[in-house]
C-alpha cells in the first residue's frame, strides 16, 4: 500500500464529500430557514442529471447541459415550492415527510415516463478528460479534481452570499425569527421560493456533475439523499458550516473505509472472507460514525440556534 | 424528629448559571423549611424561571448545589426529581391537551401509585386511578369539568388543573411558578385561600407577581434582581427594605 494510493483515495473521498455538500447545503438551508424536511431533494438532483444528459446529448455541449441542469432543477424547485411545499411549512414533520415522499413517487415515475427505465450516459467534457499531475508525481482524474474545485467555489460563494449580501441577511433573519422578518416588510413567500430554488439548483448541479461519472437513471437521487441526511445530522441540521464539515467527513470515512477495511481484515483472515466482512462493515461505517457523533452531541457538531 | 423540623427541605447554595454573557443565576442561596411558604419575587428577567428550571431539573446549573431532603440533586433529571417529591406547576400551563382533565390527573396518580409498565388493564376501569384523580379534582373544584379535554378548559381552569396534578403527586415540596398568572381578581382570591391551606401538606416555593397574594401568603420573601438574591426576610422586613423598594417594589407601583 503506497502513500500515493492513500492520497488518491483521500481525494476520492473529498470529491464524494464535496458532492454530498452540494446536496446537504440545500437540505440544511431549507430546514434552517423554513423548518421543512424535504425528501424530494433527491428528485431535484435527478432532475438536474437528466436535464444535463438530455441537453448535452442534443447540443453536444456538456456546459450547456450544466446550465440546463441549474435552470431545470431551480425551475422544478420553484414549481413544487409554489404548488405543494408552501402548504407544508406550518404542518408537522410527519406531513412534510409524507407529502415529499409522494413528490418522489411523482417525480420518479414522471421521469421514467419521459426518459424510460434505461440509464442515460453523460460523457466527461473533452476539456476535463484525462488526468492532472499533482505535486509529488500523483496522477489524478482531472474531472474529479474539477468537482472538488467547483465544490470549494460553491462553499465559498454560499459563505459570501449568506454573510455579505442582502439576501443572506434575510436568510439569517428568517432562521432566527420568522415573525421579525415578516415585520421587516420582506416578502417572505418570495424569499422562501428563492431559498428553495437555490437549494434545488445546488442539488441539480450535483446531479449533473456526478452524472458524468456514474449513470443517469431514475432513483439515482435517493441513496444520495439519505447520505445527505446523515451529513446534516452529523453537522447539525440548519448549519451550512456543519453541512460542509459533515460532508467531507462522511465522504472521506466512507471512501477510506471501503478501501482500508478489507485490507485490514486480510491481516488475519483469508482474502475472500476479509473482502466480504470488510466491505459489509465499510458500508455501515458512516452510520456508525453518525451514531458516535450523536452519543457525544445529540444536536450534531455545529448545532444551529444555540 | 425535632432536628428534622429545623432541617431545610430544599437548600440551594452558591448556584450559578450563565447564558453567554448573561448571568441568569449569580450565586443564589435559598432555603425552604417545613411548613413555610417562601415567595420568590423580582422584576421580569430577574432569573426566577431559570432558577425554577434548575431546581426542577430542566437546566443543569454551571456550579453550586441543590439539596432536597438532604440529597444532592446533581445529575438527576426532571422525572427523578418528581419521584423524589418535587411537585411543580408551570408558568404557562403544561398539560396533555387531548386528554380530559380527569385523565391528566390520573396520569399523576398512576405515576405515584406504581409502575407505568402495565399493558393490559384499562385505566378507565381502574377504580383506584379514577377515584384518586377525582378526589384531586374535587379539591381544586374541577369535578364538574372532569371529562372536558384540557384543550377546551378555560385559562383559569387549566391553572387549577395544574395544581391538582401537583397535589396528586403528594409532593414533599411544591414549586409553584406564578400560579396566579392571568387568573383575574376573583380566581386569585380563591386560589390564595387554597394555597394558604396547602403549606401544612408541604412547604411551597412560590414565584409570584401578584403582590397581594405574596403578602397574604408568604412566611418569608426573597427578592431576586439580575440573578442575585438582594434580600430575604419576613413580609414586614421586605416591605421596609429600602433596596427592595427601589429595585423592585418601586418599579411595580409606578
Amino acid at each position: 500500500m503506497t502513500s500515493a494510493l492513500i492520497i488518491e483515495q483521500l481525494l476520492n473521498g473529498l470529491q464524494f464529500g464535496v458532492m454530498l455538500f452540494l446536496m446537504a447545503a440545500g437540505l440544511t438551508l431549507v430546514f434552517g430557514v423554513m423548518g421543512l424536511i424535504n425528501l424530494a431533494h433527491g428528485s431535484l438532483y435527478m432532475v438536474g442529471a437528466f436535464a444535463c444528459a438530455a441537453v448535452a446529448s442534443y447540443t453536444g455541449s456538456f456546459w450547456l447541459g450544466v446550465v440546463a441542469s441549474l435552470a431545470a432543477s431551480a425551475a422544478a424547485g420553484a414549481l413544487v415550492e409554489v404548488t405543494v411545499i408552501r402548504r407544508l411549512y406550518n404542518r408537522d414533520h410527519l406531513d412534510q415527510v409524507l407529502a415529499t415522499f409522494a413528490l418522489i413517487l411523482i417525480f420518479s415515475e414522471g421521469t421514467r415516463y419521459l426518459f424510460g427505465s434505461f440509464p442515460l450516459f453523460l460523457n466527461v467534457p473533452d476539456m476535463l478528460a484525462g488526468p492532472i499531475s499533482l505535486p509529488g508525481g500523483l496522477q489524478y482524474p482531472l474531472y474529479r479534481f474539477a468537482i472538488i474545485v467547483v465544490g470549494a467555489l460553491v462553499a465559498f460563494g454560499l459563505y459570501l452570499l449568506i454573510s455579505r449580501t442582502r439576501l443572506g441577511i434575510r436568510i439569517r433573519a428568517g432562521e432566527s425569527d420568522r415573525a421579525m422578518i415578516a415585520a421587516l416588510g420582506i416578502d417572505i413567500r418570495l424569499l422562501y421560493t428563492i431559498v428553495f430554488a437555490l437549494g434545488a439548483a445546488l442539488a441539480g448541479l450535483a446531479g449533473a456533475l456526478v452524472g458524468a461519472i456514474q449513470s443517469v437513471q431514475v432513483g439515482m437521487g435517493e441513496p444520495v439523499l439519505i447520505l445527505a441526511f446523515v451529513v446534516i445530522v452529523i453537522g447539525g441540521i440548519g448549519s451550512i458550516k456543519g453541512a460542509l464539515v459533515g460532508a467531507v467527513l462522511v465522504g472521506v470515512v466512507d471512501t477510506l473505509g471501503r478501501f482500508l477495511l478489507p485490507q485490514f481484515f486480510q491481516l488475519f483472515m483469508d482474502n475472500a472472507q476479509a473482502t466480504s466482512i470488510g466491505s459489509a462493515l465499510a458500508s455501515m461505517s458512516i452510520y456508525i460514525l453518525m451514531a458516535l457523533v450523536l452519543v457525544v452531541k445529540p444536536k450534531g457538531l455545529f448545532p444551529a440556534n444555540g | 424528629m425535632t432536628d428534622q423540623a429545623t432541617q431545610p427541605v430544599l437548600e440551594i447554595s452558591e448556584l450559578y448559571k450563565s447564558f453567554g454573557a448573561l448571568k441568569a443565576t449569580d450565586g443564589v442561596n435559598l432555603t425552604l423549611y417545613p411548613g413555610e411558604i417562601h415567595a420568590l419575587i423580582g422584576p421580569n428577567g430577574a432569573g426566577k424561571s431559570t432558577l425554577i428550571r434548575q431546581i426542577s431539573g430542566e437546566y443543569p446549573p454551571d456550579s453550586g448545589t441543590i439539596r432536597f431532603l438532604g440529597q444532592d440533586l446533581a445529575g438527576l433529571g426532571v422525572a427523578d426529581r418528581a419521584q423524589l417529591g418535587l411537585g411543580r406547576t408551570f408558568q404557562v400551563s403544561s398539560l396533555a391537551l387531548e386528554f380530559s382533565a380527569l385523565r391528566n390527573v390520573m396520569l399523576a396518580v398512576q405515576a405515584k401509585s406504581g409502575s407505568s409498565f402495565r399493558f393490559f388493564k384499562p385505566v378507565m376501569k381502574d377504580r383506584d386511578l379514577v377515584d384518586g384523580a377525582m378526589k384531586m379534582l374535587e379539591k381544586v373544584g374541577l369535578q364538574d369539568r372532569a371529562h372536558i379535554p384540557a384543550a377546551e378548559l378555560s385559562h383559569g381552569e387549566r391553572r387549577q388543573l395544574e395544581i391538582a396534578l401537583a397535589l396528586a403527586l403528594k409532593p414533599k415540596a411544591f414549586l409553584l411558578d406564578e400560579p396566579m398568572a392571568g387568573m383575574g381578581p376573583e380566581g386569585s382570591k380563591t386560589l390564595t385561600g387554597f394555597l394558604g391551606g396547602l403549606r401544612d401538606q408541604a412547604p411551597i416555593l412560590l414565584v409570584e407577581h401578584d403582590m397581594d397574594a405574596v403578602f397574604a401568603l408568604a412566611d418569608r420573601i426573597s427578592v431576586l434582581v439580575y440573578g442575585r438574591v438582594v434580600a430575604t426576610g419576613t413580609v414586614d422586613e421586605i416591605r421596609g427594605n429600602r433596596i427592595v423598594r427601589e429595585a423592585y417594589l418601586g418599579e411595580e407601583t409606578s
Partner: protein, 329 residues
Amino acid sequence: MVRLSKENGLNCVLALALLAAPFVATALDEPFYITLATRVAILAIAGVGLNLALGLGGLVSFGHAAFFGLGGYAAGILASHALNYEPILSSPFELNGTTQMLVIWFVALLVSGLAALLIGFFSLRTSGVYFIMITLAFAQMIYYFAISWPAYGGEDGLSIYVRNVLPGVNTMDPISFFMIAFVLLMLVILFSSMIKNSRFGAALQAARQNDERLATVGIHPFGIRLTTFVISAMITALSGALFADLNRFVSPDMLAWHMSGEIMVFVILGGVGRLFGPVVGAALFILIESVFGGISEYWMFYLGLVLLGVVLYARGGVIGFLAGKEKHD
C-alpha cells in the same frame, strides 16, 4: 352493556369484509384475490406495529423497513438452513435451522426487538426531524449490510422453497395461510387496543402530547418511548416473517427505505392512531396498486397523487373521514 361507537361499528365491518374477501374470491373462482387479501392482512400487521409508535407515541419512525426485513430474513435464513441441512452454527454448540413458523416468529421477534433496542437507544435521544432522519439512516445501514453480505444471497435475495409449517395447518393452502395472517392481525390489533387503554398507553400518549408534563409527574418519557419502539418493531417483524412466507422469497427490497415509506403510507391513508387505520390503509394501497397497476406501469405516479391529496386535504385518513375525529375519555 356494550355501546358500539361509530368507529367500533366500522371496525367490525372492516374485519368481516377482510375475512370474507378470500371466500368470495374462491366462490368467484379468482384465487389471485386470496393472495391479495393475504397481502393486505400481512402488510396491515406491519402498519399496526408502526401505528403504535407513530400514532400513539408520535414517534415518526422512517426506518421500520429494517424490522420488516429482519423478520423476513429470520424466516428466510432459518428455513434455508433447515432445508439445506446446514447448521447455522456448529461450534461451540450445534444450532440448526427450522421450518416451524412458531420458532421463526419467536426468532423474528427476538432479533427485531434487540435491533430496535439498539436503534431506539440512539435515535430516541433526539426528536423531531433528527429522529426521522436517524431511523432512516439506521435502516439504510442494515439494508446496505444485507446487500454487501454475500452469505444469504446479497442483492439477489434468498428463496424459501417450501412454505414453512405450522402444526395442524396446511400452510400451502391459500385460505389456510390467509387465516393465519388474519388471526395474527386481529391479535395484534387487540393487543394494541389494550395497550392504548392501559397505564402504559396513557403514559405513551401523554409523551406524545407533552413530554415535559409526563416527566413532571415523575415518569421517564425515554423508557416509555423505547419500550414502545421495541414492541412496535416486533409487531412489524412478525409481519415481515409472514411476508417472506407469502412470497417464499426475501430480498433487501424488504429492508429498503421505500418499504419504510410504504408502511408509513398504510398508517396515514387509514388514519393515524386509529385501531383499524392500517387495515384500511393497506387495503387501499393494494387496491391502488392492482387497479392503477393494471392500467399503467406508472401506477406509483397515481399513488403519489393520492397520497399528496390525503396529506394536504384529508388529514384524518379514511377512518377519520368515515368515523369522525377521535374522542378521548
